[in-house]
């Protein structure tokens, strides 16, 4: 009997939640349609068949030219701020990196390739690093926290 009462109460809470949710959504400035008509554009990359990529902290990046720093973010973000001396190579989660781009990078005489992404999950820097490594670029690293961490470190503040 008590079990039935508990289930009834739980069902009432769910019913009340429907009423409150739908009512609030009807007047909310960020209301969404109750039934989505257009599929969501979700961006969850399938695991990249890539190679090894080593994480670095922002403090470990060498700015003396011995690291080739790549900015994997979109061109618009890179135009706002980019790590000093970084080469902008926008990473597209859906398109493979062009062979010509890889060939260019392999030809640069540096000790390490350091990819700076957006610091999100998934981080475009880490994903690009995996792909580059899988395509034969050696000693590829990515920066934990991406461009926000690098910028904070260079400007001497906490990320």
């Amino acid at each position: 009997m008590r079990g039935l009462t508990m289930v009834r109460d739980a069902a009432l809470v769910v019913a009340l939640s429907f009423a409150l949710g739908l009512g609030y959504n009807a007047v909310h400035s960020e209301a969404i349609p109750v039934v989505a008509k257009v599929p969501y554009r979700i961006l969850v990359p399938c695991p990249v068949e890539g190679g090894e990529v080593v994480p670095l902290e922002a403090t470990e990046v060498r700015w003396d030219g011995s690291d080739l720093v790549l900015d994997a973010r979109g061109a618009a973000e890179a135009a706002t701020w980019s790590p000093p001396g970084a080469r902008s190579v926008p990473y597209d989660f859906l398109d493979p990196i062009a062979d010509a781009t890889v060939a260019d990078l392999v030809a640069v005489p540096v000790e390490r390739v350091v990819v700076v992404g957006d610091g999100l999950v998934p981080d475009c820097g880490e994903e690009m690093g995996k792909e580059l490594s899988g395509k034969g670029v050696r000693n590829v690293h990515f920066v934990r926290g991406g461009a926000p961490a690098v910028r904070a470190q260079l400007e001497g503040r906490q990320p």
Partner: protein, 159 residues
């Protein structure tokens, strides 16, 4: 066994668990209520629900979290609230496990939808399993919860 079930300390242990779990769910619901579109995107990213149900869940679920959280904290219809919390935890554990099994790298969407914080992992599943166990303790062992339920019961018995 019956002595274990009748131990009076369960209500106090349960009170601590209720305040903790209630706080977790209250903290989890606000961002989802305020930004249903972002939460709907999180749900869609799991790629489990059909598109027609994504928005409805994004609209209703945060209110279930809110009501169940409040009920747990104040001790009103406590076992019904624990039942709802456990049902949600089972749902979250299954969803995250499926996403991990499919190799998806994505944010949890558990507390906020801001750029993929809190990425899913087996640690997320373990955390949710611990919260599920807490909910089960409240549901199964706290037969006379401290709070509004006990006040109402005492009032009924005195009448």
């Amino acid at each position: 066994m019956s002595r274990l079930l009748q131990w009076r300390g369960h209500a106090w242990v349960s009170l601590v668990l209720r305040l903790y779990l209630g706080g977790v769910f209250l903290a989890a619901c606000f961002h989802k209520i305020l930004h249903p579109g972002a939460f709907a995107l999180d749900i869609a990213t799991y790629q489990i629900l059909p598109l027609q149900l994504v928005n409805l869940q994004a609209i209703v679920l945060p209110w279930v979290e809110l009501l169940a959280g409040v009920m747990l904290v104040v001790g009103f219809r406590t076992r019904a609230a624990a039942l709802l919390i456990d049902a949600m935890m089972v749902m979250f554990i299954v969803a995250i496990s499926i996403a991990l099994g499919n190799g998806l790298e994505m944010g949890c969407g558990c507390f906020a939808s801001e750029g993929g914080d809190d990425p899913i992992s087996w640690h997320t599943v373990l955390r949710d399993a611990i919260w599920l166990a807490m909910g089960l303790y409240i549901l199964l062992l706290d037969s006379n919860p401290l709070g509004v339920d006990r006040l109402l019961r005492n009032k009924r018995n005195n009448a």
